[in-house]
Symmetry: C2
Subunit: 312 residues, 2 copies
């Protein structure tokens, strides 16, 4: 196959677009695809400082690389989740990427906050992915608003969006369907805009981009993701995509274009303000503070039990 | 495993219901499930004459058997599609079933109408499943209204409904999503109510029921269904169901309970009347008459071409 742009030998074949690219043209194509998504969806401008959530994986590092290449003003935000070797390696990859390119990075080690993911799940019995999601959302939101960033960009790719959409549809999660979109405008003074510039980029494309650009990312999946339903949905969608290339993109794109509107109610109650941390909440406490309170209560109980045990 | 109802050894294990049944209790369970669906969705009463669309496959014959056992007034309607040996065998199974039980059956041989499925697809280039669907819908609707049946029942099972829903969702077919439901009330004086009493019964359950009841049905799939996207969707859903039993039922049931409402527009234009056959239509001609006209035009052209060819 020949490169769709320059006609030399193609190194990548994108079945969903019925196109092939050589290395240089693929990099050009990817950056352009992302720029188009940013412009079309009005995600942010060249003047706005963007907080990029980076995990150390291919998607977030590729996103950051593309944003820099496109000339955007970026700062990285990395949460060190405390999931053993996996998190140590993720943090190392992120820090190395940042250092080699002289970028600005904010790192939050959850262990220092007493909220490493294994600690939280050990105290609360919550599924790891749910607890981790709550923690990430909270720190992304809070640091963005505290440090004056008008927008947070995450590396969610097409496969992530398709799997999430599949999960929402299989259970007809009406609220989640109404909120799933490439740009989430703030609904509270302590929320900022959240955007997903890679929502049209497949996992495969993002991996190839990272490889071509020499980005050293963490290849391992999070150990907590084993058996996660997200992977089951990705597997279903990969089967569909193999039989009918382009199906994932159609599924997600047509949802944003026409499906989602059906789920948006005329009135959605705006969030209130969390009594404890001042961030947006649905109820007296936000989901982060509920989680933290649960951890604190259990921790206190175990400590008392240990003391009583020690006295007996 | 023991029978959930009577505690003897179970012969069937239904993972999605976390239940097991012996032969007698499974038959009881199935008839009851169908009766509940009929009552809950107000499909029809014991007084109404029901036209049951029967193909000769497990679902439609199981449905007919259940309706008779439950004491409903039924007449079968069988379209002989003209798809070679497959249709001959289907018609034979249907006729044998009817004869052995002394039931009343209306048979329409599409070959006699000049509209055998291979004839239609040969003249029109339409995909076989699409042409076949148009033909079936037309004859079901027309015979029901002409013969005074207030309701047509079809054997669509849970797997059919889930696959259809998946296809509608993957392409965000808003109109189809609005119309997909277990009971379709007539929107035109020449439409009757259309119902799917097996919409909560899986393909597996329906096959086991047919086997236990000694129903001799056509096991072969229609030769035209090879590679059909419906089978791809069924395959995706089977993967999901294996990993998470009950997923198909949740998907379909929650769609009917809460998802569908989102797609129902305030005003949907009612159908007009077909200029040619008087049946409901969207446009001057109904989709059946458009199909027939296409067949007639092409047939006429080929005949003229043959005559001209003969003269030359």
């Amino acid at each position: 196959m020949k490169c769709t742009r320059c006609k030399v030998r193609a190194e990548v074949h994108l079945r969903q677009h019925n196109a092939g690219f050589c290395r240089a043209c693929f990099i050009f194509y990817m950056q352009r695809q992302v720029e188009r998504a940013i412009d079309k969806e009005r995600m942010f401008s060249k003047e706005e400082p963007i907080l990029v959530a980076v995990s150390g994986g291919k998607d977030s590092l590729a996103l950051w690389d593309i944003l820099i290449e496109l000339g955007y003003r970026t700062t990285g935000l990395h949460l060190s989740l405390g999931i053993g070797d996996y998190s140590d390696a993720s943090t190392r990859k992120t820090v190395d990427f940042t250092a080699a390119r002289g970028l600005s990075l904010i790192t939050v080690p959850l262990t220092d906050e007493g909220l490493a993911v294994p600690t939280v799940t050990g105290f609360t019995n919550r599924p790891a992915c749910s607890a981790c999601g709550t923690l990430k959302r909270h720190y992304f939101d809070r640091l963005a608003v505290d440090r004056g960033f008008p927008v947070v960009a995450t590396g969610h790719n097409l496969d992530d969006e398709a799997a999430r959409l599949m999960g929402n549809v299989l259970h007809w999660q009406m609220d989640h369907l109404a909120r799933q979109q490439p740009v989430l405008e703030p609904t509270h003074e302590r929320f900022v805009r959240k955007v997903k510039p890679l929502y049209r980029i497949s996992e495969y494309e993002s991996a190839v981009y990272a490889f071509f650009r020499g980005i050293d990312y963490i290849v391992d999946e999070c150990p907590n993701s084993v058996g996660a339903t997200q992977l089951l949905y990705k597997d279903m969608l990969n089967r569909l995509e193999a039989a009918s290339p382009g199906s994932k993109l159609t599924f997600v794109q047509d949802f944003f274009r026409k499906g989602r509107a059906a789920f948006v109610r005329e009135e959605t109650a705006p969030p209130q303000t969390c009594e404890r941390c001042g961030m947006p909440s649905f109820g007296a406490l936000c989901s982060f503070c509920k989680l933290v309170r649960e951890v604190e209560t259990k921790r206190e109980r175990r400590r008392s039990a240990a003391v009583v045990g020690g006295h007996s």
